[in-house]
């Protein structure tokens, strides 16, 4: 049973899922830091 690596669909799903998770993670923690610093001031 062979499989030729990741096909186009696989890449699309992998990149979309990873990018959306990383994007939201950055958004959240950036906002956490901003609000944290604002409250400190």
């Amino acid at each position: 049973m062979e499989q030729a690596g990741l096909n186009l669909g696989g890449w699309i799903f992998l990149v979309t899922a990873w990018a959306s998770i990383i994007g939201v993670t950055i958004f959240c923690f950036k906002r956490v830091l901003i609000t944290h610093n604002r409250k400190k001031e």
């Binding site: 499989q3 030729a4 799903f13 998770i21 990383i22």
Partner: protein, 528 residues
């Protein structure tokens, strides 16, 4: 944030500590073992469609609901659903009824913790076995499965003469859980999360890098490669998602991974202050969990299994379930890697950290109830919880081969979560009222949640949950209830598991009645 709330309840010491503790609550064995198996079995990349739909329509809305109920309950001095639910209902009778329903928010997580901590103890044991090389020399999966079963006392082999080793690791795990709980929120749970979570992420990243750089471990078998492993996990099979199975599996995975419906989020949120943000913090913990699950969890076990065993055998491993992957396949792989002792130990320690941060969370509703409503000291409450876990955990240890653990997993760890989540969302969105619920979520919020979630929480999430319960009830619930296909030899043990869970719920109901008598649960809405 300070260590005490205005009503003298404990509180989180810092926001990062809270995020790590909540993430620790969510990140568990499911992220690294259950998710890749579910994805591989249910359409690969295409599984991500029902998975993200369930995340957006069930996971994230329910997470905000549970955070909101918890913070509101904490404001009135309640740390569990028994008390917190009552604050959502105007009428006195309704409030009392809601609080009695809250018994599920203590009994379900403690039942969950009872069997979960036993599985957690296997990871601690296997971490030690990796360092000492106890399983080294067993180079095929079947014999590794025999090793696991003899460790669990199901079979006798040359590796373990009795169940004693498993029992010792179980007692150590139980002790560690009780110790953390006895130290309290800031000094125990938060401190554990601050150590365990960064360590878990460092270990996971090291293992992901090792996985990515494996290439083709055996040049004679070029099809056994890491890229084919990613292909197996991610290449979409759209024919799968036209069936009901992946949608149910995705919803189950979202429940399991985000610790929704366990009541533990509610308890952790009860240690917040009235004006502390929950919208952004809740989202941050959920996305941290998704990072650990999809990016890290999806990059280790299954791709590595394909690289070493090939596609056909990995499919068989995945069909065998998460334990087969984690405890039978992975130890064989570590023996084929340079520094296998180290990577093996890292893998199982990672699972242990993921497990312990979740199990202490599962115990926290019972801890909070004993402290807030029964007025026990933290240490005494931890001792009571530890004793209950030990007494109820011993049948799980000794009757594992009879399906005792699986029975608890179905009723407490699967069915119970959905029922409890449904009660939460109906109480919050329909009884408390969506207008007030929306304002409650946004109290002190650092972000504005898109308005569409108001509609989702009120209509889509409850309908989704009812659909899930109906499907599960018909497909799995009735056959499990009737013990279809279960050997008559095992049936008394399964009844025993049910009786134990029912007994835990009845005890919680009696304790709630006692709390009413003592006046530690009151009718609160008038003071809102």
């Amino acid at each position: 944030m300070a260590d005490l709330q205005s009503n003298n309840r404990e509180a989180w010491a810092s926001r990062i500590g809270l995020i790590l503790a909540m993430a620790g609550n969510a990140i568990g064995l499911g992220n690294f073992l259950r998710f890749p198996v579910q994805a591989a079995q249910n359409g690969g990349g295409a599984f991500m469609i029902p998975y993200f739909v369930a995340l957006l329509l069930l996971g994230i809305p329910l997470m905000w609901v549970e955070w909101s109920i918890g913070r509101r309950g904490g404001y009135f001095g309640y740390g569990s659903a028994a008390g917190a639910f009552g604050t959502l209902v105007k009428s006195r009778g309704g409030s009392i009824f809601a609080n009695y329903l809250g018994a599920l928010g203590i009994a379900v997580p403690i039942a969950f913790a009872i069997y979960y901590s036993y599985i957690e103890s296997w990871t601690l044991a296997y971490s030690t076995f990796s360092i000492t090389g106890k399983y080294f020399g067993i180079l095929d999966r079947d014999n590794m499965l025999n090793f696991l079963q003899s460790f669990q006392g199901i079979k006798v082999s040359e590796h373990f003469a009795s169940i004693t080793t498993a029992l010792i690791f179980y007692l150590i795990t139980l002790f560690l859980n009780v110790y953390v709980l006895s130290r309290g929120v800031a000094q125990g749970i938060e401190r554990l999360a601050k150590i365990a979570m960064p360590t878990l992420f460092v270990f996971a990243i090291i293992l992901v890098i090792r996985s990515w750089t494996l290439g083709t471990p055996d040049p004679a078998k070029p099809e056994n490669s890491i890229i084919n492993g990613f292909g197996y996990l991610w290449n979409p099979d759209f024919s799968q998602i036209t069936k009901a199975k992946p949608w149910l599996a995705a919803a189950g995975q979202i429940f399991f991974t985000l610790s929704i419906g366990t009541g533990s989020i509610l308890t952790y949120a009860s240690y917040l202050k009235r004006k502390d943000d929950i919208a952004l913090t809740g989202l941050s913990t959920s996305i941290t969990n998704e990072f650990a699950e999809v990016i890290l969890g999806g990059s280790i076990a299954i791709p590595v299994a394909v690289a070493f065993f090939g596609l056909a055998e990995t499919k068989a491993i995945a069909q065998g379930g998460a334990f087969n992957l984690g405890f039978a396949a992975m130890p064989v792989i570590f023996q084929k890697l340079p520094l296998g002792h180290l990577f093996g130990s890292m893998w199982f320690l990672l699972l242990f950290f993921a497990g312990i941060t979740s199990s202490v969370a599962l115990c926290s509703p019972a801890m909070a109830f004993l402290q807030d409503q029964m007025k026990l000291s933290r240490q005494k409450a931890a001792l009571v919880v530890g004793t209950v876990m030990l007494l109820c955990g011993l049948p799980v240890v000794f009757f594992l081969g009879h399906g005792f653990l699986d029975e608890m997993d179905f009723w407490a760890g699967t069915f119970g979560l959905v029922v409890f989540a449904m009660i939460e969302v109906i109480l919050f969105a329909w009884i408390f009222g969506m207008k007030r619920a929306w304002a409650e979520i946004h109290e002190g919020a650092d972000i504005r949640i898109p308005g569409v979630f108001k509609f989702i929480i009120q209509f889509i999430t409850p309908v989704y949950l009812i659909g899930l319960l109906l499907f599960w009830g018909i497909q799995d619930g009735i056959p499990v209830l009737l013990m279809k296909g279960k050997d008559a030899v095992h049936q008394p043990y399964l009844w025993g598991a049910r009786a134990m869970m029912l007994g835990l719920t009845v005890v919680c109901v009696i304790l709630i009645a006692h709390a009413y008598k003592r006046g530690t649960i009151r009718h609160e809405t008038a003071t809102d």
